[in-house]
Symmetry: C2
Subunit: 329 residues, 2 copies
Amino acid sequence: MANIQQVAKQAGVSVATVSRVLNGQNSVSTKTKTKVEEAIKTLNYEPSILGRNLRNSESRILLVLIPNLSNPFYLEIIKGIENMALSQGYNILLCETDSNPEKENIYFDLVRKKMADGIISMDPAVNVETLKQLAETYPIIQCSEYGGGIGIPYVTINSEEASYRAVKHLIQIGHQKIALINSDEKFLYARERKMGYQRALQENTISLNKDYMIYTSELSFEHGQQAMRKILALADRPTAVFAVSDMLAIGALKEINASSLHVPNDIAVVGFDKIDFSNMTNPTLTTVAQPMYKMGTIAADMLIGKIKGEKVDNIILEHELVIRGSTSG
Amino acid sequence: MANIQQVAKQAGVSVATVSRVLNGQNSVSTKTKTKVEEAIKTLNYEPSILGRNLRNSESRILLVLIPNLSNPFYLEIIKGIENMALSQGYNILLCETDSNPEKENIYFDLVRKKMADGIISMDPAVNVETLKQLAETYPIIQCSEYGGGIGIPYVTINSEEASYRAVKHLIQIGHQKIALINSDEKFLYARERKMGYQRALQENTISLNKDYMIYTSELSFEHGQQAMRKILALADRPTAVFAVSDMLAIGALKEINASSLHVPNDIAVVGFDKIDFSNMTNPTLTTVAQPMYKMGTIAADMLIGKIKGEKVDNIILEHELVIRGSTSG
DNA sequence: CTGAAAGCGCTAACAG
DNA sequence: CTGTTAGCGCTTTCAG
């Protein structure tokens, strides 16, 4: 529990010199450096980050806002963020908002109060107005989900194109009656994925069927089941389903299995994200792979750049359709 | 970006008074209090946690050590920790160690350097010696996995008993040839769960078959598959499998399905943890439910207690066998 | 190459 | 009820 003063005393130098040794400045003679290092060792000294932070007006903490921890999609991103952050001397504060504005505000306060140096927002339900206002003062990056035109840099994929390719794949293997399990259209990604879905259908002169578009309030297994139940109850049952999240798709898959229909023979299923569990289902899930880990590292890098005052640009990452058992028997 | 001095000036009072208002001390007259609050508003002042932390020699951050984010088991615990921490004014720093001593040490440094006030360790592979030594100086709690007899408080379940009940269930529904997919016996929970397995067998005069005990180096889906592959290759194939983690069990399930055997008719499967995904498989997984969320809240509460200097006791929580499709057709 | 001293923003002891 | 003042532990000018 020694502090820098005691080290200085022990080494017979000033606190400034100790600080210089601590920070690896080369303007210290080898002799005094050794003296200081010995003092540090004998006193078992550990520099307090608290003091340093106050002095430097930084916390070296990155706030990561996610709607919920239960969707593995976010976990891969978080791993990317964490590793990049760590490699640059930052730590991350994970904040599960439950898409609850109140909780969100608690976390926003952390950056206002200097407990965090910046924010990576992955919450589609975030209050865009607040975020925009906050971004005028503090470094903020949007990851995966984003509000366009609000001047906050983002890293994401091309959702419209990804969705288009997924549906096109279904059409190519012979499907005409394709249902869409989407999320609420207040989210940009939901609107974009719907557009991709529509474009694929139009291009193949398949008319849009309102009954085939189901909306869910959450990207969860249970909501996927519910949506699938509605679809199975339709008089003119679709032969394929595209869900905008693997969690929904896995729920749908389970529901189809439970009704003794066969995937993909009776109904083909495509998901989105390529979470680990998409490979553990029976059959395995065809899905659109997002480079989640990479997205995380880039988001962290962008944020740290912004903290340092650099100019950062939006980034669109590649995606890839992974064809597995749920569309090819 | 105003500081407390500017607020004091604006309000025409001293910084001490502003601080008192900030901290809700009632020794301030209503009149001055209003003055201060107005000044805060006009200056858009936000008190810096950095200054407060240094002054109070605390960071109000809890370190949470987990081996990896991919196992949903930990996520539920983390949710519990986070909510309890939040309600008491703490935030959590999530640290994925990958059971890597180096990474672990980076994180340990955070508490040595006062960036964190205490640690909740959930990593079974943690270096017990380091942990023990650290615990002499800093508040530490063990959650779920623990080293006994090293004087660090823990919250966990009775693994031996839980395992015993799981295997007993298999015996009761008629199984005699029961395999165990266990994790490395360097972990206490692995030894305890093996003991429970053995006790159940002995009690029913079923002799132990070494071939039926498979060890894995990780609690992952892939390792579950691998283990099951070995089991399926046995000349005298078991009719039931008990895996010490749902992740392993889900891997095993997938492998059995892939070999066109039927669960539970050909082989019954029991898992451990009751993660969300254990209900999404086909068939659903019989498993031992751990009160993960509760365990998290308790761990956080214990740690905060310890930070405050209270004496805290070990806690053993209840578990429950949840019987589902994988053992009852 | 090294030291003295100021100060990051806050809290709390003490005095009045 | 309020103000003065001393620091929490560190970094960084500015002198020398």
